[in-house]
Amino acid sequence: MAASPDLLFGLRNSFYLGAYQAAISSSDIPNLTANDALERDVIVQRSYIGIGSYKLVINEIDSSAPTALQAVKLLALYLSGSKEAAISSIQEWLSDAALGNNPVLRLIAGIIYMHEQDYNEALKHTNAGGTMELYALNVQIFIKMHRSDYAEKQLKMMQQIDEDHTLTQLANAWLDLAVGGSKIQEAYLIFQDFSEKYQMTGMVLNGKAVCCIHMGHFDEAESLLLEALNKDAKDAETLANLVVCSLHLGKPSTRFLNQLKLLHPDHMLVKRLATAEDNFDRAVQSIA
């Protein structure tokens, strides 16, 4: 652990906690080494992706940029709709021995395959780990696969590296939520810590709210979510959780649901609802 101050700490933290705008605006850090500057650029570009400015990222990164940034560009391409092109390029790069080991590239590959729900393929590139981000992604992939036992192993590794790292804490919270039970409270405390230490982001507020919902504290969850909605009226997860929370409170949820359908037609909740309606009709027919 270096004794010199970690100049990118604040930037990274903002990014991990979903404060993308803050990350972008605080990116002007003097006296960075070349490595740090690259990392900074990667984070900034990914932050732009985070706020949905895919085009900007695609335009800004030219072909002479380092691999890491190129990988980020691929992610932007993928998310902006050119899925096949992005996947084929990433496969090509991954098979290139010179580039294939780049942690950012592997990370982006993991993210893209996660979107593709091809977890095996994702893990193929990420499982080796190497950076905190890769481990954290692994935790999430395993949670997605409902293999919290594997996720826990990844988390252990992260804890060994740096227990207080923001990603470690976050991954811990994810896992806590996934395994449920008494762990929910711990997840809540982790988000609580974040909210005390750093600025309240939609992600942190959502995290707290989700914990509250799981603990049955719907009123508190609602106020947290409304606070999050104030910060970002278009946030998909906030809207989705508001739907859930309103339903539990017996309040009308239609407004949030319609907003979500409008703004994020691809959101999991919207998809799930559509599937369910289809299922319902089919089930009715099969019963009849």
């Binding site: 004794a3 990014f15 991990y16 230490k197 989705a240 909740l269 799930r272 599937t275 299922n279």
Partner: protein
């Protein structure tokens, strides 16, 4: 320093420095009596009594290695010096029992009185002519005694003075001893020596008051000990027996014993019980001569034990305060411990370690320790039980001569070669930490919790005893993590260490088991996050962050040489160096703020963590969370503790005051303290604190002053005004504060004194008050000043008034001139005329432009030429010629070529009246006057709040009676469109999307070396496996199994009404979270009945959005709608309930019964309401209408609804001419406890119906019990065949079998079904 041979004594009297080796006993007095004494003793009690005790176990304790004392261990550091003086050698010290005073008697003959708290010399008493060795305060009287060693013979004539002093003495006084052989008793209040006790023939070594009797004991080099009565001022006993100088003598605190130490190497214990018997003062006087004549009588005091054991002269011996123990110190460098019982006394042990003569030694009153000091320049602390050295305090150059303990506090004083030290052995500040409503603190080996609100105090965890018995090893600081219930206790054990305890959650009231604390070394340790604490490693200057398992999480080098760390918000440390503090972010490793401060001792954060108070020894620095300096306060007295109140005022204590500090640095005293306290929390007018014994106290304070000042500071003038109105806040301090802060207008409200009021009013420009005050004062100066201010403001009427009052005519005239008030000006002219004030007349005339008048005045005044010139100038020829004749030859010549004009003042713009007035700042308080009396009582909108609103019913009924059912119809018409609107929102949710979007695709191409694990089972699948409850299957998204279950259990066929419920249930089963940036969000299954103790990884059932208690609310809403006559809405609500129930899951069987009950209720209402709706549709069929109305009465409804239904049916039947049926309904209504109006109506119906028969035959026989068919709405009388709905239980005529139930609209009538399953309890 070894004592020289006795023969050297008195070799040089002049150079005597009070050293005992220089003095020899006076020749004649000693020899015989002492030897006689010894003889007597030997005869009476045998030698074993005084022989050396056998308890000294050889080899048990080796003398401490002297070199070990020279080891670099810096012991002096741990001595808590409170106060130090520099002076001549101090040979006697004494504490005052109540006041913070200490007496020091100096070798130079002076006795000094110090306030050790303030550090100031209060007084000096210098009547002794030689060194003063002994000094002692009286316990209760304002007296002290001193003994000195002057060689002058006391002149007897002083006696006269003494008698005068005696009078003063009775009101209270203290005691010295001096080397002038004199004992002087002083009154420190009057600063006088009351009298001198003469008798000793050589230097006096010590003097001491008796606690109860008016006695003084003195020890002298004349080998005697004398006991004096200070009231009669006589010697009442002379204790002889020592055959060398007596170095010290003292009373036993309780028993009639005196202990003395002598250079004859013995310690003697004297029994003085016989002395008590002859206490009567008259007796004393009588005895005086006798004693003097019979020095060896010894009847009053007999030697009880002679303790031998020291090899050299004994310098000091003292009693244990409660046990029969004596401790002594001698020139053999040893401290000896002696025990005695009724018959004998023996040596118990020897404490070796001092490297030179032990000069003084004593037991500590509160702890089991012995304190000794020595000419080896050290003070040593010994464990009295284990008899081992605990601590050594060493000084560079000063030999120690005397020790004294405070009678009540934990203070000690020691006199040395160049002054005196007042010190403490142990810190008394309890380690504590405040968390919310709880105070965690350590007392007597226990961690305790004190709840501020309830004042409950519980011990929770026993704290480990430190391994080594050493001083100041107790807990020093305490840090608490509320979420983890963990406590860190730091102490100085092993050069700084911490212990980590977890407080059991249910520990209230218990705390009997010892838990194994996790330990570690570190200068200080403090929680920096919920489950992280930082430990300061001084050697490497690192902060070591650890988790609750005491494992190192990380290490972080600190930016400055840090000697203590404190909490500074999550993840941040406040590091303290000698001259600065800084806040360091442990994760980013950056410094967030830095501040130069004098040495900081304690840190107090405000509850919002926005402000911090840094307490130093004599300073308080207030800063914000980035350590930006706000203000600094300096205190002359030591600052002890502090806490923030909720309003942002810092309340702190010094040794003797509670004070406050406002955010702007203004401070003040709140209260004076008798004892030192440590503030733990401030809440409103209460200060919570711990005292030095670790007891919790609540102190009520009057916060008005600082709240007032704070309000001023925050410009909350309404508060200020309120406080001025309602409280007795007054005093010069507040006024000058207000004036100084620029609020003279506020100060005005406090002042009664008119002059001050006047000044303040002028200052604030409040002219009205100024006028009122000026009237009261009524002197010229004030009127004048009022005039000036009024003029400044343009208030000319006040100016005029002021000038009038002071009869200042010139000014008045000028005022009238500039205000253009000619009328008044002419009045002024007249007044001047009356007063014969020619100059005034002239001025006024000139102001008025009245030439005639001017000429007249000049003429009257005898200035004829001037009058003439004036007349000529203004062309008044007649007058001019008249004057010319009068002047004769002296007619002055007028200059030629000048144009003449009348000098007239310009006319004023605004005539008579005030000028436009200066805006005077007055608003803030006049505007802020609304005292908030405006009644904010919110009137609850009572209408419709409760469905049992009788008022509403009456209206309905009235309407019904007057114009048939128009009322209800009208209401219905109102209701229906509303309902349509509301329901419009429900049909939008039809979106077609591809299926199975969220089931992961199985991709089998795991070709690389890494083999990914097979995906686990989603939680929703686990839910289904376990459950046979339809609701849970729906939540899991397995609709077909859910439907199958419903069909099997309840015979459902029509699922369409359930679709939105299914959707909502499914949507409510998962939450969503954005996890990794740009990665797809996670969805997390929500489980029911979460509890803190639920174990992770064990899946609970899904949380369903439909909860039974919500049904209750829905039911209430439906009832209300029914009461309001909104039938379609009510119907919808009841159906809603009926539709949601199949998806409900409850926990207990009891609730299952309630659910079933609810189905019945809903079913009855649905049926009834459907009948009613049907009735409304049949406008033209009166008979059927009446029948349906009658059937409605058959439904089991709430009483209030039954009454309405009955009234309705009664009215309809009456109108339809079916009087008998109507009368029947009327009777039923009357039995049902109707309202006044309903009852009246029913009686009317009964009256009118009389015995009249029904006009039409109705299919309704109220005598024959029946149920109504849910489909055809015909009665099915008892005994007739029927079929029922498997779910809602509605009855139908047999022909309806196989149809969809028209009540619940879900199940098939007459279908086979196993029954409602809505709780896991049912399947167990």
């Amino acid at each position: 320093m070894v004592r020289g041979p006795r023969s050297v004594k008195r070799a040089n009297q002049a150079a005597r420095a009070g050293r005992k080796e220089e003095i020899s006993p006076p020749p004649s007095v000693v020899g015989r009596p002492s030897s006689v004494f010894r003889l007597l003793l030997q005869i009476s009690s045998g030698s074993d009594l005084i022989s050396r005790s056998s308890s000294q176990i050889p080899g048990r304790k080796t003398p401490q290695d002297p070199t070990s004392d020279l080891s670099p261990r810096s012991d002096l550091q741990s001595m808590l010096t409170k106060f130090e003086t520099k002076s001549n050698r101090v040979k006697g010290v004494s504490f005052h029992s109540k006041r913070p005073w200490v007496l020091a008697s100096l070798h130079s003959g002076v006795v000094q009185l110090w306030d050790y708290r303030m550090g100031t010399l209060i007084d000096r008493f210098d009547e002794h002519d030689g060194p003063v060795r002994g000094v002692h305060f009286h316990k209760s009287q304002p007296l002290f005694v001193s003994g000195g060693d002057c060689y002058f013979v006391q002149i007897r004539s002083n006696n006269l003075k003494c008698s005068i002093y005696l009078y003063l003495f009775s009101e209270g006084d203290a005691l010295f001893v001096g080397d002038d052989y004199k004992i002087k008793v002083w009154n420190y209040k009057t600063h006088r020596c009351l009298f001198t006790l003469l008798g000793h023939l050589d230097y006096i070594r010590t003097v001491q008051f008796h606690d109860e009797h008016p006695w003084i004991v003195s020890a002298s080099d004349d080998q005697t000990i004398r006991i004096w009565n200070w009231q009669s001022r006589t010697c009442i006993s002379v204790l002889t027996g020592h055959n060398h100088y007596v170095m010290c003598a003292s009373f036993h605190p309780k028993e009639d014993l005196v202990v003395s130490a002598s250079l004859d190497q013995t310690i003697r214990v004297w029994d003085i019980s016989s002395l008590r018997k002859k206490v009567a003062p008259a007796d004393d006087l009588l005895r005086l001569g006798q004693i003097n004549s019979d020095l060896f009588g010894g009847v009053d005091a007999v030697v009880k034990y002679v303790l031998e054991g020291h090899d050299r002269g004994v310098n000091w011996a003292s009693f244990h305060p409660s046990l029969p123990l004596i401790v002594s110190g001698a020139d053999d460098r040893q401290v000896k411990l002696w025990r005695m019982n009724d018959t004998k006394a023996w040596e118990v042990d020897t404490l070796r370690g001092h490297m030179n003569n032990v000069s003084c030694v004593m037991f500590h009153a509160k702890q089991d320790i012995i304190v000794s000091n020595s000419e080896d320049k050290s003070i040593r602390i010994w464990d009295a039980t284990k008899r081992t050295g605990i601590q050594t305090f060493r000084r560079e150059h000063d030999r120690f001569w005397i020790l004294a303990a405070h009678p009540e506090l934990n203070l000690l004083a020691a006199g040395h070669d160049s002054g005196m030290i007042v010190f403490k052995l142990e810190r008394e500040r309890p380690a504590f930490s405040v968390s919310g409503d709880a105070l965690y603190y350590v007392k007597d080996r226990f961690l305790r919790v004190y709840e501020f609100s309830s004042q409950k105090d519980n011990q929770v965890v026993p704290i480990r005893r430190p391994g080594s018995v050493s001083l100041n090893q107790g807990p020093r600081t305490l840090s608490f993590s509320p979420t983890e219930n963990a406590v860190l206790i730091c102490s100085d054990v092993d050069g700084g260490s911490y212990e980590l305890y977890i407080v059991p959650k249910d520990a209230a009231g218990r705390g009997d088991y010892m838990q194994d604390a996790r330990k570690g070394a570190g200068a200080s340790a403090v929680f920096v996050a919920r489950n992280r604490f930082a430990v300061l490693d001084k050697s490497s200057n690192q902060a070591i962050v650890k988790n609750l398992k005491n494992e190192i999480v990380k290490k972080s080098p600190l930016p400055i040489g840090t000697d203590a760390i404190y909490y500074a918000g999550t993840g941040n440390l406040l590091c303290r160096a000698e001259d600065r503090v800084l806040i360091f972010d442990l994760q980013q490793r950056i410094v967030l703020g830095e501040l130069q401060t004098p040495s900081v001792k304690y840190i107090v954060w405000s509850s919002d963590m926005e402000s911090v108070a840094l307490l130093g020894k004599h300073t308080i620095v207030i800063a914000n969370k980035k350590l930006v300096h706000r203000c600094t306060l300096h205190e002359t007295i030591r600052v002890k503790s502090g806490a923030w109140d909720d309003k942002g005022v810092f309340i702190y204590t010094t040794l003797n005051h509670i004070k406050y500090c406002l955010p702007n640095g203004d401070g003040g005293i709140i209260k004076t303290l008798d004892n030192t306290i440590y503030i733990t929390k401030v809440s409103g007018n209460n200060i919570y604190c711990l005292d030095r014994d670790g007891k919790n106290h609540t102190i009520s304070i009057d916060s008005t002053e600082y709240v007032f000042k704070l309000s001023l500071f925050h410009k909350r003038y309404d508060h200020v005004m309120n406080m001025i109105r309602n409280s007795q806040l007054c005093g010069q301090a507040v006024i000058s504060y207000l004036q100084q802060k620029g609020f003279p207008e506020v100060a005005l409200h406090f002042v009664k004194d008119e002059k001050t009021r006047f000044n303040l009013a002028l200052e604030s420009g409040n002219i009205q008050i100024a006028v009122a005050s000026a009237k009261e004062i009524d002197d010229k100066d004030h009127w004048y000043r009022l005039g000036i201010e009024a003029l400044r403001q343009g208030n000319t009427s006040i100016v005029e008034y002021a000038y009038q009052r002071t009869k200042n005519f010139e000014r008045l005239s000028f005022l009238y001139l500039i205000t253009g008030n000619e009328e008044k000006l002419s009045k002024m002219l007249k007044i001047a005329e009356i007063k014969n004030d020619i100059m005034g007349q002239f001025h006024n005339a000139m102001y008025l432009g009245d030439v005639h008048e001017r000429i007249k005045i000049l003429e009257h005044a005898g200035h004829l030429p001037l009058a003439y010139v004036t007349a000529v100038s203004h062309g008044l020829k007649e007058i001019a010629s008249r004057l010319a004749t009068e002047l004769g030859e002296n007619v002055p010549t007028l200059p030629e070529g000048k144009k003449r004009s009348l000098l007239l003042p310009p006319s004023s713009l605004i005539c008579c009246g005030d000028w436009p007035m200066l805006r005077v700042m007055r608003g803030i308080f006049d505007n802020g006057l609304d005292t908030g009396k405006a009644g904010n009582e919110e009137e609850e909108d009572a209408s419709n709040a409760d469905w049992g609103d009788e008022e509403l019913d009456i209206v309905d009924v009235d309407d019904m009676i007057q114009n048939a059912d128009i009322g209800i119809t009208a209401e219905l018409d109102d209701g229906i469109p509303n309902e349509d609107n509301e329901e419009g929102g429900w049909d939008l949710e039809d979106l077609e999307l591809p299926p199975d979007a969220d089931t992961p695709k199985a991709s089998g191409n795991a070709t690389s070396l890494f083999v990914a694990p097979t995906p686990g089972m989603p939680v929703s699948q686990i839910w289904i496996q376990k459950s046979s409850l339809a609701g849970e299957h729906v939540a899991a998204g397995n609709f077909d199994t859910a439907m199958r279950l419903l069909t099997r259990q309840l015979g459902f066929k029509n699922f369409a009404p359930l679709k939105p419920l299914f959707m909502d249930l499914l949507l409510g089963s998962h939450t969503y979270m954005n996890a990794f940036a740009s990665a797809p969000a996670m969805s997390i299954a929500v489980e029911r009945n979460w509890s803190e103790s639920a174990s992770p990884n064990v899946r609970g059932p899904p949380a369903l959005i439909f909860k039974f208690f919500q049904m209750d609310e829905k039911l209430k809403a439906a009832y209300r709608a029914t009461t309001d006559g909104k039938f379609p809405e009510a119907l919808r609500l009841f159906l809603n309930i009926l539709h949601a129930i199949p998806l409900i899951v409850v926990d207990s069987r009891r609730e299952v019964d309630e659910v079933k009950e609810l189905i019945e209720i809903a079913r009855e209402y649905v049926l009834g309401l459907k009948i009613e709706v049907k009735r409304k549709e049949l406008k033209d069929n009166s008979v059927r209408q009446q029948e349906l109305a009658a059937y409605f009465t058959n439904c089991k409804l709430q009483k209030i609804h039954s009454r309405l239904v009955l009234t309705n049916a009664m009215t309809i039947c009456y109108k339809g001419g079916n009087f008998a049926t109507a009368a029947n309904f009327a009777r039923m209504l009357l039995e049902n406890g109707p309202t006044e109006i309903q009852a009246k109506k029913a009686r009317q119906v009964l009256q009118h119906a009389g015995d009249r028969q029904d006009a039409n035959q109705l299919n309704y026989d109220y005598r024959n019990p029946f149920v109504v068919c849910g489909e055809t709405y015909v009665p099915i009388y008892r005994g007739q065949k029927d079929v029922s709905c498997p779910y809602c239980g509605a009855r139908f005529v047999p022909s309806a079998e196989g149809h969809l139930c028209s009540v619940c609209e879900l199940a098939v009538v007459g279908a086979d079904a196993s029954g409602l399953l809505c709780s896991p309890a049912q399947s167990r």
